[in-house]
């Protein structure tokens, strides 16, 4: 099998490729190698022993009957190795395939790092292919539209300035009926933290803002929400290969905190945004660490429980399993905190295996779900591995503290008919916490 046998129609890829020539491809590739990539790519490419040990790591590989073209090294060999071997002299049609591999058949989950004795980061190589495709203008339609939205509005869903503020007022109003006196303080200078979300929350999942406000209110936090662009922590530009925009988004996000003089940013249950903040975006701006600490909801909830700030009325009794999102577990080591919070909320946790930093990706991450409907089948069928994992637990509820994971797992649960209910930690806390009568 090779990518040539499974091309999928996508307007963005087709439009981009229609404008390419072999010359332009070669020029762009040489520019990439000369100006952008360095020792990392060189060492990774030369040192890979082609041992194939990484194959089993990848859910795409195991879910596709061990098809080698889905193995991490198989994907590298169809993309970067080919480009390096041919000095970038490949056809526009080749680029279509490479883009499809890099954007839709790799979640940049880095599970394969745990399998490679040499320490090769295939996710980095795939990211570099995406960077190259971005430079060629060959990107899947939906993720590119999201990147456009980022550039035009500083959020990923074309949410206009006023719509954002209006949703906050609306949720504040709604929540006040249940929690009298509840406030969503706006632009409060010097607060302990500002709470940041991703744009789908004001757009489709306002309930999550409501829940967050309820939790902050009950826990008595010194918090605020910004009225200004920068409130959206998400970053599809990091995944489309548009690193300049990634930097611009993160600058806005950090400077919003710096201007509001908050001590930290607490972010909702999202994985990729976390990666963008602590790992990728900060580097592009020249920051070694993040300039403003960004606290993931998992850490934040753990803090609230440790300080006894959340009182619960009971715990969930049904069997509950935990999905470890790559970007916050393999990406940031929050597995113990996640378990601590989950055990506060549930009496009967059934672990899935492999778990913690060895967990399989949801197959939606790395911007794959953002490539939209054309590629849905690939990622759902490409994650039979996850479906089997979930089924084996016998759990009725699965905690997934990440928006992308939710999207991905929802599709998997539906497709494989697993009958499992997905929950954010925030959902459970809100459900279980003491509320005014």
């Amino acid at each position: 099998m090779s990518i040539q046998d499974r091309k999928i129609d996508d307007e963005g890829l087709a439009y981009g490729v229609s404008k390419l020539t072999t010359d332009k491809i070669q020029q762009t590739f040489n520019a990439l190698i000369n100006n952008e990539t360095g020792a990392k790519l060189k060492a990774f490419s030369e040192t890979c022993m082609r041992c194939g040990m990484c194959a089993e790591a990848c859910h795409f590989f195991v879910s596709h009957g061990n098809d080698p073209s889905y193995a991490p090294v198989g994907k590298v060999s169809q993309t970067m190795s080919k480009l390096l071997a041919d000095n970038g002299k490949v056809t526009p049609d080749d680029i279509y395939g490479m883009a499809q591999i890099a954007y839709t058949e790799c979640n940049l989950c880095r599970r394969c790092v745990h399998y490679c004795p040499i320490g090769i980061d295939v996710a980095y190589i795939m990211t570099t292919i995406r960077r190259f495709c971005h430079k060629l203008g060959v990107t899947p339609q939906y993720i590119q539209d999201t990147a456009h939205s980022h550039s035009a509005t500083m959020n990923q869903m074309w949410v206009k300035d006023d719509e954002w503020i209006d949703s906050l007022f609306w949720q504040e109003d709604e929540a006040r009926e249940e929690f009298p006196g509840l406030r969503i303080p706006m632009d409060k200078e010097g607060a302990d933290f500002y709470y940041s979300v991703i744009a789908p929350e004001p757009k489709f999942r306002t309930q999550l803002i409501y829940q967050a406000a309820a939790i902050m209110n009950q826990a008595g936090c010194d918090w605020t929400m910004p009225s200004m662009p920068g409130w959206d922590n998400s970053d599809m530009c990091m995944y489309s290969g548009d690193f300049e925009m990634m930097g611009r988004l993160k600058r806005q996000h950090y400077e919003l905190a710096q201007n509001l003089k908050v001590s930290r940013i607490v972010m909702g249950e999202c994985g990729h945004a976390f990666r963008s903040i602590y790992d990728n975006g900060n580097r592009w701006l020249g920051y070694k660490d993040y300039p403003v600490p960004v606290v993931h909801s998992i850490e934040f909830f753990a803090e609230l429980f440790e300080q006894g700030k959340i009182k619960l009325t009971g715990k969930i009794q049904e069997p509950v399993t935990i999905h470890d999102p790559c970007n916050i577990i393999r990406g940031y080591g929050l597995m113990d905190k996640l378990r601590y919070v989950a055990h506060q909320l549930c009496d009967n946790i059934v672990e899935m295996y492999p778990n913690r930093e060895h967990n399989f990706c949801c197959s939606a991450g790395g911007g794959v779900i953002n490539c939209g409907p054309p590629f849905k089948k690939v990622r759902v069928e490409g994650n039979l591995a996850k479906a089997n994992q979930l089924k084996a637990t016998g759990a009725k509820i699965c905690i997934a503290p990440c928006h992308n994971c939710h999207g991905g797992l929802e599709d998997i649960i539906h497709h494989y008919d697993l009958g499992i209910e997905l929950k954010f930690l925030g959902d459970l806390i809100y459900e279980l916490m003491e509320k005014p009568e």
Binding site: A39, K40, A43, R50, P68, H114, P117, Y278, H358
Partner: protein
Amino acid sequence: MNSLYNFAVGPLAWAAFIILAVTAVWRLWSMYNLAKQKDASSVAYMSWQFSLRSIVNWLIPYNSLGWKTNPVLTAVTFIFHICFVVLVIFVTPHQILLENAFGITYPTLSSEAADVLTLITIACCCYFVYRRVTNVTVRYVTRSNDWISLGLVAAPLVTALLGSWGVGGEIMPLLHVLTAEALIVAIPFTRLAHILFALFTRAYIGSEFGGVRHCKDW
């Protein structure tokens, strides 16, 4: 024949080692400079603690997910590398060469033991070949340079063994020396470059996982 052999273990060997030293240093140095110049945002995270942590954990057989998932390959890989290094250092003829050149002496392997180790190492190479051909994934990503590297490694082993069994008369020791020298010179320019770089790629990814991602990489 004798003078050819003397030339091969004398000036030619010196030349091979010097070429290796120069090219290896040059490759490492240019890689380091390239990293400093273009990967500053990666180099900044290099840490001794996390580098060593990663290296040590990967040196333990069956400790990492990768080793666990590929049990046979893991065994073969460890045996191959250990035997190869032991052979290179501890076979008597090598020690004698070192003694002649630098006056270094140390205990060495008996020729029977050396033969057994060589056989084992060749067997490992055979497994690598077998796997490259039969494992669908490996076959899918194998290119000519993978075969060249494997050939370069296998050749001195085979010639050493044949030589020790007296096959081919005087030509075998000569071939052994020449193939070994080819191997030495090829290190920086083939897949064998992993000898130079693997430690650093491991250290790098270990540092990233330890320092940035607060997570183990094995």
